[in-house]
């Protein structure tokens, strides 16, 4: 019998989908594999490829087996194809096919829509590895370097997950799309990644933490809604990816939190109470809280753009088709078809932003974005607790969703972070207080000095409260290869 829980290593590609008995797909994937390895090898600086990294690998998709820790060289990491166990009798959770048995094969009428969703999701995975490829050179600790690499290999595995679906279910054009996922490259002139936010470089570690907190959280929300897909293989793939995505949320939340903690600590040690005394604070080698707020403003608003237009027929079609559900679809108590429901969205009328009711079906993106904002606000609250503990009078906040937007009804209009419309002149004047300036970027860059001693941390960031896999404080998370 086929063992669909434990990971099989009988092919080059670890998997729990019985690849060894699926010759055609196996062959296609094996053909794709060398290109992937080349992509990886060209990406991350060589001495890190040779280093032993304490990584987590899944040996099975049940809770007991998916978190095995061991030292491994990244190119030897067992990238594989892992799907959550099939749920007996699962039905399509939303849309016009609500309640029908979930599809095990691609439904012909939705083939293109499905393929496009998978390709867009797949495109973001390698993109973020590309964006973060140089960060290890300035890692504030071996602990953080390990977390970066864990994020990287898991993004790599998520690419595998999407490529498997393309190879298995979409024939020749699926294979072509899979090849294109390796051909496009973040920031490239000729062949950039599909979504704007994924063509920006991640220049420093605070950006990385903000990226994993805000942008990967968009990824999480997208995966959550794809996990609700009526196309069962996609749902199972995304459900397993979500368990890995949680680690990325963790890296982001604790990374920003530790940066805040260190700033507060150094302020207190030096008798600074005013968080806006930024020159003095920066002289002490830590990142002032107002600058952290500016980074937050930037990354949050960039991530909001990833949700697309507030009112969208594409999103409505995907929901209606049962291809993409809502966040926690199964737990929502309604007809799951949105026949008569409405939802509140922002619109622009007579030069003013107004909220109005639209058919809920067309507001699927908006709803997911609202769920995202709620989810993102939780961590901000916990960051504020850190500041409060130190008795410093400062509060981080998510900016209003109208601020700094490039997509949707607010695009390219002038709003301040409180959501008030301002004139162009006011906007230009306020901008250096709202978003990081070049000088801010230079300052952060000046702090990015590697700290490669086990148990040591760069001066701008506090050590974590708990080690990975319960390891003690001085654990050597990466055994660096020194050429």
């Amino acid at each position: 019998m086929l063992d669909l829980i434990n990971v099989s290593y009988d092919t080059q590609i670890p998997n729990n989908v019985g690849l060894s008995q699926d010759k055609k797909v196996l062959k296609a994937l094996e053909k794709w594999h060398p290109g992937y390895i080349n992509w990886w090898n060209d990406l991350i600086p060589q001495n890190f490829q040779e280093s032993l990294v304490y990584l987590r690998t899944a040996v099975s998709v049940d809770p007991k087996g998916w978190a095995k820790f061991d030292y491994v060289k990244m190119p030897e990491y067992r990238w594989g194809v892992l799907l959550a166990p099939q749920v007996e009798g699962r039905t399509i959770p939303c849309g016009e096919h609500y309640g029908e048995p979930a599809w095990q094969e691609v439904p012909g009428e939705y083939r293109n829509m499905l393929k496009r969703l998978i390709v867009i999701q797949g495109d973001t995975e390698p993109a973020s590895v590309e964006q973060q490829r140089m960060l290890a050179l300035t890692a504030p600790s071996l602990y953080d370097m390990r977390n970066l690499f864990q994020v990287n290999v898991e993004e790599g595995r998520h690419l595998w997950a999407m490529v498997y679906l393309l190879h298995k279910y979409f024939g020749r054009d699926g294979r072509e799309e899979a090849d294109d996922l390796l051909r496009r490259s973040s920031g490239s002139e000729e062949a950039p990644r599909m979504l704007g936010a994924f063509n920006e470089e991640t220049p420093d570690w605070l950006s990385f933490f903000m990226f994993t907190y805000f942008t990967d959280r968009d990824g999480k929300m997208q995966l959550e809604s794809l996990a609700q897909s009526g196309f069962d293989p996609l749902s199972r793939t995304c459900r397993f990816m979500l368990t890995e995505e949680a680690h990325h949320m963790f890296v982001g939340e604790t990374g920003v939190g530790r940066t805040i903690e260190r700033t507060c600590q150094v302020m207190k040690e030096n008798g600074i109470d005013d968080p806006y005394d930024t020159a003095k604070i920066r002289d002490l080698g830590v990142i002032d809280l107002p600058l952290i707020q500016k980074k937050l403003n930037l990354h949050y608003t960039l991530s909001l753009d990833l949700f697309g237009q507030e009112v969208s027929t594409n999103a409505a079609n995907a929901f209606n088709a049962g291809i993409k559900g809502r966040y926690m679809e199964a737990r929502i108590k309604d007809d799951h078809q949105l026949k008569a429901d409405t939802y509140t969205v922002w619109d622009f009328e007579d030069g003013k932003a107004v909220q109005k009711e639209v058919p809920a079906l067309t507001a699927i993106n908006m709803r997911l974005r609202d769920d995202y904002t709620k989810d993102a606000a939780g961590g901000v609250k916990r960051w504020n607790k850190i500041i409060e503990k130190f008795g410093i009078d400062f509060e981080m906040a998510l900016p209003h969703e109208s601020f700094n937007r490039k997509i949707g009804v607010f695009a390219d209009r002038h709003f301040n972070p409180e959501g008030q419309m301002v004139t162009g002149a006011e906007y230009d004047k306020g901008l250096p207080e709202w978003l990081p300036t070049n000088a801010d970027g230079d300052f952060i860059a000046s702090l990015m000095k590697p700290c490669y001693e086990a148990g040591q941390y760069a001066g701008w960031i506090a050590p974590p409260k708990v080690g990975i896999d319960n390891k003690p404080g001085d654990f050597e998370y990466v055994k660096l290869h020194m050429a």
């Binding site: 998916w66 978190a67 979500l242 368990t243 949320m249 961590g379 607790k385 319960n470």
Partner: protein
Amino acid sequence: MNQPIKQHLIDPEICIRCYTCEMTCPLEAIEHDENNVVVDASKCNFCMDCIPVCPTGSIDEWRVVNEPYSLEEQYEWMELPEQEDIGQDAGGVEALDDAMAALLAEAHKGAGGKARAPATASKPTVNLYNLAKPAEAKVTGNYRLTSDQSDSDVRHIILDFGAQPFPVLEGQSIGIIPPGEDAQGNPHLPRLYSVSSPRDGERPNYNNLSLTVKREDKGICSNYVCDLKPGDTVRVTGPFGATFLLPSDANAHLLMICTGTGSAPFRAFTMRRQREAPSARNSLTLVFGARRAEELPYFGPLKKVPEEFMAKHFAFSRQEDGPKHYVQDQLREQSEQVAQILADPNGHIYICGLKAMEQGVEEAFKDIARAKGMAWAEIRDRMRDEGRYHVETY
């Protein structure tokens, strides 16, 4: 009387509210509001499915309580409450049922004070199953370890727990309930046996474990266990024990001293090290006593463990062609290395076997310490308080 129970909790200061645990929990025992993610003590069955999926480690928190914290209380928390003093040291609640706790207290008495777990030991699960609600394990193997000529019958028993969660750490014990009743017509109480396999199973990633059991003349339980056949079902309680555990730190140097079936926990320790840190060198020392080589459990496999992975010193007290040799004699012969472990802040000593071995071993330590100008009683008390000196004798 209200028995204290162990309660599973989540540390709200570390948790990032990803709700992966909630999605994973097969019993829907985990839920959340805007503040916290909480565990319903009335639903949680300690299956541990949520532990590895947590990206933060915040989920691996436990408190022993008389009255479990309600969901409402947990929702209000900004931080996890300290373990309350409920008359037991929570760092080492060895068992929640009194009879088992008493047995273990007796077994650990030889350490000369309150036993503590090594600082880096994993957190044990205790008393998941009890007499009222035992686990059912299936026997999948029963092999004689001593030679056929020997009058000593020591057996290697493998138990499989199937789909029942049975998280056990190296050094912990389980209770076996022999069938039938005692002279007063009461059901037999469970007997304790040390687990001799590592935490991930006798076979990696199988939900099984092994025991090392010696057939005792007229022993109700040992005869029952030694006569088990593959396919038989056994009722099991536990796991028990929260101090005689393996430090996670692979650099910790362990001196393991045992006789006979006292080797069981050390087989588990060694296998864990082999699986986790196969390249570790010179950090395990075993001193193992038996009457003859033929009666020493696991003598064959032990000889195959490379000396640099584990230094092995055997003492035979009834060998025909040699003088009587006991574990304490071996300790004295290795006094230089033993003294090094005594002085090493990362040195751990474990003693397991018959009560009769305690005195001789203590005397040897005393002499070795004295020769180096150290006071054994002080070293022992310090090591014990630091969770580095462990005795389990019966």
